[in-house]
């Protein structure tokens, strides 16, 4: 990676956008954000109103069917976007900030602080995410906020690891060393020379992590450790479909909502990673020769 490759990555973005997968991912992601923003305008019914026939199969008036309480599933999915998507984005930003800061400190200052932070990260890694999140969520009490907190606890270490690795590699680079020789303080060097060069890869990680975070969050809700009824949360909606197995639409459509959001961000992240990954970039260059 060359100095200030963060900016280089940005200049390579238009190329990435020409990838069909990235375009599809971008369009779907934007569509979901719009749905979340405009749910009250778009939704044909009140998501909590129980005034439709119960367990009606998909058809005119209720295109995704109704659930066992006579609520319109399409409207609930639209309102569900306002629950899941903002929380997931908040979750990823928070774990990026916490994990990134800890990882940068561990990489730049090294030794005891760094070792301590990384061993803590190892410990979290050794626990399967769902089980640790489950323990935290159960201990704190089942609620959506606590589920977010639980996911946060299992999500920060991957940022810490990646940031530390990148900072470690950057610390010994000539332009960083010459900055230090010119009298930059450790903090200034970290802020001015190191961090701008590691943001690109970390943002790609964050894009890919949006999907993971949403899967984990809705998984906790599915297990009954997140959103409480009557809240229109997608994981909890899938769980309510388990009780009425014959009525396939109750579980299917909320699940598809989760799948499309996660897929959209993974399409985006995967393309961004290709634009970034020096190995792949080199392979493309070789082919061009």
């Amino acid at each position: 990676m060359r100095p200030h490759s963060g900016i280089r990555v940005l200049s390579r973005l238009p190329e990435a956008w020409r990838q069909p997968l990235a375009v599809v991912g971008g369009v779907v992601a934007v569509a979901w954000l719009l749905i979340a923003a405009a749910a009250p305008l778009l939704a044909p019914h009140d998501p909590l109103a129980q005034d439709l026939p119960r367990l009606a199969s998909p058809g005119p008036g209720h295109w995704f069917g109704t659930d066992q309480l006579g609520r319109d599933i399409l409207s609930r999915i639209m309102y569900g976007a306002r629950v899941s998507i903002p929380l997931t984005l908040l979750l990823v930003v928070l774990s990026l900030l916490i994990g990134g800061a800890l990882g940068a400190c561990a990489g730049y200052f090294g030794r005891w602080v760094g070792e301590g932070i990384m061993r803590l990260a190892d410990l979290v890694f050794a626990f399967p995410t769902v089980i640790l999140a489950m323990v935290v969520a159960a201990a704190l009490g089942a609620s959506l906020t606590n589920a977010v907190l639980a996911v946060l606890i299992v999500a920060w270490p991957s940022y810490a690891r990646v940031t530390r690795g990148l900072v470690l590699g950057m610390r010994e680079r000539e332009f960083v060393l010459s900055g230090r020789l010119l009298g930059f303080s450790a903090w200034r060097s970290l802020r001015v020379d190191v961090l701008p060069n590691v943001t690109g890869p970390i943002l790609v990680l964050a894009t890919l992590d949006i999907g993971t975070a949403l899967l984990l969050l809705s998984g906790l809700s599915f297990l009954g450790l997140g959103a409480k009824p009557p809240s229109a949360e997608w994981g909890a909606m899938v769980a309510s479909g388990v009780e009425v197995f014959d009525s396939w639409w109750v579980a299917t459509f909320p699940g598809l909502a989760i799948l499309t959001v996660v897929l959209a961000f993974n399409f985006l992240g995967d393309t961004l990673r290709d634009a970034l990954d020096p190995r792949t970039a080199r392979a493309i260059k070789e082919r061009a020769l």
Partner: protein, 366 residues
């Protein structure tokens, strides 16, 4: 932990001087390697129990309210008895040290929920999960590596694009939802797979040797039980494998592409070796090192997935046990699960490291 991809801590990487040989048994690289591993495992065990212990004690939840019924809670005598029975009336550090002391004797404590030793519970539930996760990792390795190789060899063609979408769908699909859909379609609608549980409800489990129904049934020669156990395993294992297949496809593809660009592969091709020989002897062998690393990490995510898959397919495994213990704040049980899983993690890392040596002589026990 062993993260071969992470940059080394040594300054100015690559030219770090070799450490001077130490005297005694530590001189033997194998002994040193194993000692380090055992130390890591012990530390990890202490860490896992400590984290679980602190987490479950610092937070507002109370195992007494989680385990006793509403009526029993009103009776101070019953509450006091429950606390005394499980040592909850002692100071926290004492509770933890008592637990560690028991651990040294192989005593994982009593489950507050099943009223049985945690060790017995684990012995009952772990084999079901081993079958499930083992089946899933085999499926993922075979399918993931095959898909990845095909994608790399046909790079940027249609098949590569299709495999890319398939692998991305694999890592994006919610496991619990896929489990439901598979159960609905294959069992409920098409009726081509058996339903929930580990074997057909009218069968009795095979004589207990390993706890793995498939192995035990084969050992006892009960082939109807064997086929029932395998049949009950296929759908959940496939569902569980969806994520890791996607992951391994992506990593195999980039690992193979990386190797394909190397000079020695070009040389092998130039001297006219058949494609099959190049692929298996030159490309796949080098590409396997990063693939094995990812597969080791993927096993962790498989164990996470078992919680959700076991809950949908009603397989009595460690995932379901973990769920029940976590929701009732059954501390000894949660710590027991944590220890088993942490142990598996250490073991997998060991296997991965040994496999490195087998695949790549350059890293043999270095």
């Amino acid at each position: 932990m062993s993260q071969p991809s992470a940059p080394s801590d040594s300054p100015a990487g690559g030219t770090a001087p070799r450490r001077a040989a130490r005297p005694g048994a530590l001189n033997n690289p194998l002994a040193r390697f194993l000692l380090r591993r055992i130390a890591v495992a012990v530390l990890l065990g202490v860490g896992i129990t400590l984290v679980t212990f602190v987490l479950t004690n610092l937070v507002p939840g109370d195992p007494v309210t989680a385990n006793l019924g509403q009526r029993a809670l009103g009776d101070p005598a019953i509450v006091a008895q429950f606390r005394a029975e499980h040592g909850l009336d002692k100071p926290l550090p004492t509770q933890y040290l008592t637990y560690l002391g028991g651990l040294l004797h192989g005593d994982l404590g009593m489950s507050q929920q099943s009223h049985r030793p945690v060790l017995d519970d684990l012995a009952e539930f772990v084999p079901a999960t081993i079958e499930l996760a083992g089946g899933a990792i085999v499926i993922s390795l075979v399918a993931g590596v095959a898909f990845g190789v095909v994608a790399a060899l046909r790079r940027d063609r249609l098949s590569d694009q299709i495999l890319r979408v398939i692998s991305l769908v694999g890592i994006s699909v919610p496991t619990f939802w896929l489990a439901l859909v598979a159960f609905y379609v294959f069992f409920f609608r098409l009726q081509i797979t058996p339903g929930s549980g580990r074997i057909a409800p009218d069968m009795s489990p095979p004589p207990d040797v390993t706890g793995l129904y498939t192995v035990d049934a084969a050992l006892a020669g009960q082939w109807d039980v064997f086929s029932s156990a395998v049949g009950h395993l296929v759908t959940p294992a496939l569902v569980l494998a969806a994520y890791t297949i996607g992951l391994l496809t992506r990593f195999t593809r980039s690992a193979v592409l990386e190797v394909l660009g190397q000079d020695y592969v070009r040389a092998a091709r130039a001297k006219g070796l058949p494609g099959r020989v190049i692929l298996f002897r030159y490309v796949l062998r080098s590409a396997l090192v990063p693939i094995i690393t990812v597969a080791g990490l993927a096993f962790g995510s498989l164990l996470s997935g078992t919680v959700l898959v076991e809950s949908v397919f009603a397989r009595p495994g460690i995932g379901q046990y973990a769920y029940k213990s976590a929701t009732t704040l059954d501390l000894p049980a949660v710590m027991g699960v944590g220890l088993v899983v942490g142990g598996v993690y250490v073991l997998i890392n060991l296997v991965v490291d040994v496999l490195y040596g087998v695949i790549d002589p350059r890293v043999r026990l270095s």
